[in-house]
C-alpha cells in the first residue's frame, strides 16, 4: 500500500494542471468559482479547446479520439478539471451517448456522430425520465412504432437537462408494448429539429432554467437512428448508467468548494474576528473535510481496482461514490449558506445566459449565488438515481440482501 503517485503520474498531473490554467479563459473560471451560470458558448469554447488538445473524449477508445490514459491518469484529469475549476466536457455526449454508440452502434453511426460529439458541434440531451417513469425508469411509455423505414415516436420526456440548447436527443422508447417492461425498450437517436418535437422549460426552485419537458407528437425518426438491436435498449441504458464515470464522486469539485468556503470565511467578520476563526464553524468545516478525505481515498481504491479489472462490468462501488459525493456537495452548500449569514436573503437573479446582473451587488459581491446554489443542489441526491435507489442497488449488488 502506498499513497504516493509515481513521478510520471505527478508529471502528468502537472502538465494537465498547467494546460487548464493557461488555456481556460479567466471569465469562465471565475463564473465557476462564484457559482454563476455558464453560457452555452462557454461550454462549447472550452470543449473545443480540449478537443484540439485531444482531451475532450479522454476515456473513449483511442481509435475514436480517446487518449489511452491509465485509470490513474483518467482520474487525475477529472480531478484537475474540477479543481481548476473548469467545465466538464458535455456529459450527455461524451460519457453517455458516445460510449453507447461506440459499444453498440453501427459504423455509420460512429462515423456520423462521434467526431461531432467530441467537438461539441452537436449538443446532445438525454431523453430517459418521464412523468410516470422516474425511479421506475423501465415503466416508460414513450412509444416508437415501426412504419416502413421510420419509427413514429409519441410521448413525453421530462427532466431533460439543457434540451433548450440541444441539437439531438437520445431516447429510450418502447418498441414492444407486449413485452415485459425492460424487454420492450429501444435506444433511439432523434434530431431535435424533427417536426413534432416541442421543448417546454421547467423552472427549478432557485429560478434557473436547466431542465425541460420534451414532447413527441408523431415524430418521424429514420430507422437507421436505432442504436444496436430493437428491444435491447434497456441493456444499453444499464451500460450507460453503470459505467465507471471517473469523477462521479466530484471530489475535486468539493475540494474546490471547501477552498472557497475558507476564502470567504476569512473575509466575513463575525463579531470582532473573521468567521474562519470561530471554533464551532471550524469544527463543522473540519468534519466535512474528513468526510471528503475518506471519499477521496475510496475513490482512489476504486481507481486502483480498475487497473486490475478485466471485465467491463460496472463497479457497484460507484453507488457509494455517488451517495457520499452528493451528500458532501450538499454539505458544502450548507457551509456557504452559513458563511453568508443574513445576506443569503436578497434575490439577485442573473439575467440571460451571458449577462451579469449589472446592478451593484447587495451585500458581499459573492452573496448572490449562495442561496440559489443551496436550493439547486438539493437535486444531487435525486438525479442520476436517487440516493435511496442507489442504496437499493448496493444492498442487492454488493450485500446480496
Amino acid at each position: 500500500m502506498d499513497l504516493r503517485f509515481t513521478s510520471a503520474e505527478l508529471a502528468f498531473r502537472d502538465e494537465v494542471r498547467a494546460f487548464f490554467r493557461t488555456n481556460l479563459p479567466e471569465s469562465i473560471r471565475t463564473k465557476l468559482i462564484e457559482g454563476r451560470k455558464l453560457a452555452k458558448e462557454d461550454i462549447v469554447t472550452w470543449q473545443r479547446t480540449l478537443n484540439k488538445k485531444g482531451w475532450a473524449v479522454a476515456n473513449w477508445p483511442v481509435e475514436w479520439g480517446g487518449t489511452g490514459w491509465s485509470p490513474v491518469q483518467q482520474y487525475m484529469f477529472q480531478e484537475e478539471l474540477q479543481l481548476t475549476p473548469a467545465p466538464q466536457p458535455l456529459g450527455f455526449g461524451v460519457t453517455m451517448v458516445g460510449p453507447v454508440i461506440i459499444a453498440f452502434g453501427s459504423e455509420a453511426q460512429k462515423k456520423h456522430h462521434l467526431p461531432a460529439i467530441a467537438n461539441l458541434d452537436v449538443w446532445w440531451c438525454q431523453g430517459f425520465s418521464e412523468p410516470g417513469a422516474g425511479s421506475d425508469l423501465a415503466s416508460l411509455r414513450t412509444s416508437a412504432k415501426r412504419d416502413g423505414d421510420h419509427y413514429i415516436v409519441n410521448g413525453q420526456k421530462t427532466w431533460t437537462t439543457l434540451a433548450q440548447h440541444a441539437d439531438w436527443i437520445f431516447c429510450l422508447v418502447r418498441t414492444d408494448p407486449q413485452a415485459k417492461k425492460q424487454e420492450g425498450i429501444s435506444f433511439l437517436l432523434i434530431d431535435m429539429k424533427t417536426p413534432g418535437i416541442t421543448v417546454r422549460p421547467i423552472i427549478t426552485i432557485e429560478g434557473g432554467h436547466e431542465v425541460n419537458e420534451v414532447f413527441f407528437d408523431d415524430v418521424k425518426v429514420p430507422a437507421e437512428n436505432l442504436v444496436g438491436q430493437e428491444n435491447k435498449g434497456w441493456d444499453y441504458a444499464k451500460y450507460l448508467l453503470g459505467r465507471e464515470r471517473t469523477g462521479i464522486a466530484r471530489v475535486g469539485l468539493s475540494k474546490e468548494r471547501i477552498r472557497r468556503i475558507k476564502e470567504l470565511a476569512a473575509m466575513e467578520r463575525a463579531g470582532d474576528k473573521p468567521l474562519i476563526e470561530d471554533e464551532r464553524f471550524c469544527e463543522k468545516l473540519a468534519a466535512v473535510e474528513v468526510e471528503l478525505k475518506a471519499l477521496e481515498m475510496t475513490q482512489l481504491r476504486v481507481v486502483a481496482a480498475e487497473r486490475q479489472r478485466i471485465d467491463n462490468k460496472p463497479d457497484p462501488a460507484s453507488s457509494i461514490l455517488k451517495i457520499k459525493g452528493s451528500e458532501i456537495q450538499q454539505a458544502t452548500t450548507e457551509l456557504l449558506l452559513e458563511v453568508v449569514g443574513p445576506y443569503a436573503m436578497p434575490y439577485q437573479p442573473e439575467r440571460a445566459d451571458d449577462e451579469r446582473w449589472n446592478e451593484p451587488p447587495i451585500g458581499p459581491e459573492w452573496a448572490g449565488p449562495i442561496a440559489p446554489t443551496y436550493f439547486n443542489w438539493r437535486k444531487t441526491t435525486i438525479y442520476g438515481g436517487t440516493n435511496e435507489i442507489q442504496k437499493n442497488i448496493i444492498a442487492k449488488a454488493i450485500l446480496g440482501l
Binding site: 426552485i205 463575525a270 464551532r280 436578497p346 434575490y347 447587495i362 438539493r378 435525486i382 436517487t386 435511496e388
Partner: protein, 383 residues
C-alpha cells in the same frame, strides 16, 4: 399546565384560517405577489378588519390586548399560506417597540394607524458586518440641539422598501459592539437623507438596503431613553423570534402534509411509494421534527413575555435552534421525497422550503443560537 387555546383564541384561529383558506391559495399568492408592493393591500385591510393588525396592542389604542399566543396563532396561519404582507415588520417588530418603548404620544399617533391598516413599518437594524449580533451597530446618531442626526447603512430591512415608518437603531456613543449607547429612532420612510434600494427576497418577500445621510430626527421620533435601547431591542427581537418560530411551524406542517400525500399518491414499481418502509420511516422522522418544532414554538411564545431577560433569551434561542434544525430537515426531506417535482418552481413544496431556509437566516441561525446557549453553559432549568 395546559396547552389549550382559550375560546377567544380558537375563534381567532378559525376566522383567520377561513380568510387565508379563501384568499391565499398557492395560485392566489402568485397574484398577490404581482402587486407593485409585492403584497396585497386588500388582504392587509382584511387583516385590519379581523383585528389582526391591532392584535398585540392595548385596547385604548385600538388594539385587542392580545399576547404572544395570539401572535403565534396569527403567524402560524400566515406560515401555512406563505403570506407576503408586512405583518412581522409592522405589527410584531415596530409594534413591539411602540409597546415597550413608545411614549403615550407616539402610541396614540401610530398604533391606531397600524391597527387600521393605514401605516406599515419596518425595523432597520442589521448592517453589512453585524451578522447576528444585535449589539453590533455602526450607524451613528449625533446630537444636534434637540434633534438627532443619523448616518449609516442598514441592510436586509424586511419590507423596508415600502414601509411608511422605519424604526432605526443607531449608536449615540461607544464602540460598535458596546452594550451601552444604542438608541432607537422612528424615521419617516421618505425622510430627507433616506435612500432605499428595494429588492425581492429568495422566498418571495421584499426587503431593502437603506442609506441614512444626515437624517434629522426630532425629539418626537426618539423611542425610549437614547443609549439604553439594546435590552429593548433584545426583548422585541425575542418576540419576533417567537413569531417566526410559529410561522415556520405553519410552513413545516404544510411541507409534511404535502409529502405524506405525495407518498400516498405517487406510484412507481407498481405500488404507491409510501409502501416502501424507508420512506415511511423518513415521513415519521419528519413528523417527529415537526412536533418538536411545534413544541418549541409554543415554548417560545409562552416565554416571550418572561420578565427575566436571561431566561427569556435562552428560551428563545433554544426555540430558534429547534426551528432551524427541524426546518432544515423537513425542508430538505420534503424535496427529496417528492423527487424531481420537488425541485420545480411550479410546485408548492419548494417555496415552503425556501421560506424556512430564510427564516433560519433571520435574527440568528441555529448555529448562532447554539453558540449563544453554549456560552451560557446550558439552558436554564425550568421549575
Amino acid at each position: 399546565m395546559d396547552f389549550d387555546l382559550s375560546e377567544e383564541q380558537r375563534l381567532l384561529k378559525e376566522s383567520l384560517d377561513r380568510l387565508i383558506g379563501d384568499r391565499y391559495t398557492f395560485e392566489q399568492r402568485k397574484i398577490h405577489g404581482q402587486n407593485p408592493e409585492g403584497w396585497s393591500r386588500e388582504l392587509w385591510s382584511q387583516y385590519a378588519e379581523l383585528g389582526l393588525l391591532g392584535l398585540p396592542f392595548p385596547e385604548p389604542y385600538g388594539g385587542l390586548g392580545g399576547g404572544p399566543v395570539e401572535t403565534m396563532i396569527a403567524m402560524e396561519a400566515f406560515g401555512k399560506a406563505l403570506t407576503l404582507e408586512p405583518y412581522l415588520a409592522t405589527v410584531v417588530l415596530a409594534g413591539g417597540f411602540l409597546r415597550h418603548c413608545g411614549s403615550a404620544e407616539q402610541c396614540a399617533d401610530l398604533v391606531p394607524k397600524i391597527a387600521a391598516g393605514s401605516l406599515t413599518c419596518a425595523f432597520a437594524h442589521t448592517e453589512r458586518y453585524s451578522r447576528y449580533d444585535l449589539g453590533d451597530i455602526e450607524t451613528r446618531a449625533l446630537r444636534d440641539g434637540s434633534a438627532w442626526v443619523l448616518d449609516g447603512e442598514k441592510g436586509i430591512v424586511l419590507h423596508g422598501d415600502t414601509a411608511d415608518k422605519l424604526i432605526v437603531t443607531a449608536r449615540i456613543r461607544g464602540g460598535p459592539r458596546d452594550r451601552d449607547g444604542v438608541g432607537l429612532f422612528i424615521v419617516d420612510g421618505k425622510a430627507e437623507g433616506i435612500s432605499r434600494r428595494g429588492y425581492p427576497t429568495q422566498d418571495g418577500l421584499r426587503a431593502a438596503e437603506i442609506s441614512l445621510t444626515h437624517v434629522r430626527v426630532g425629539p418626537e421620533g426618539v423611542l425610549g431613553e437614547p443609549g439604553s435601547a439594546l435590552p429593548f431591542v433584545e426583548r422585541v427581537v425575542d418576540e419576533a423570534i417567537a413569531a417566526l418560530c410559529a410561522e415556520a411551524v405553519g410552513a413545516m406542517a404544510v411541507m409534511h402534509e404535502l409529502t405524506v400525500d405525495y407518498l400516498k399518491t405517487r406510484r412507481q414499481f407498481g405500488r404507491e411509494i409510501g409502501s416502501f418502509q424507508i420512506l415511511q420511516h423518513r415521513a415519521v422522522d419528519m413528523l417527529i421534527a415537526l412536533e418538536q418544532a411545534r413544541s418549541m414554538a409554543m415554548f417560545g411564545s409562552m416565554m416571550a413575555a418572561e420578565e427575566n431577560a436571561a431566561e427569556r433569551r435562552a428560551a428563545l434561542s433554544s426555540a430558534k435552534v429547534q426551528i432551524g434544525r427541524s426546518g432544515k430537515f423537513i425542508g430538505q426531506q420534503s424535496i427529496q421525497l417528492h423527487g424531481g417535482i420537488g425541485m420545480t418552481m411550479e410546485y408548492k413544496v419548494g417555496h415552503y422550503f425556501k421560506r424556512v431556509t430564510m427564516i433560519d437566516t433571520m435574527f440568528g441561525d441555529a448555529d448562532h443560537h447554539l453558540r449563544t446557549l453554549a456560552r451560557r453553559g446550558a439552558m436554564p432549568t425550568t421549575t
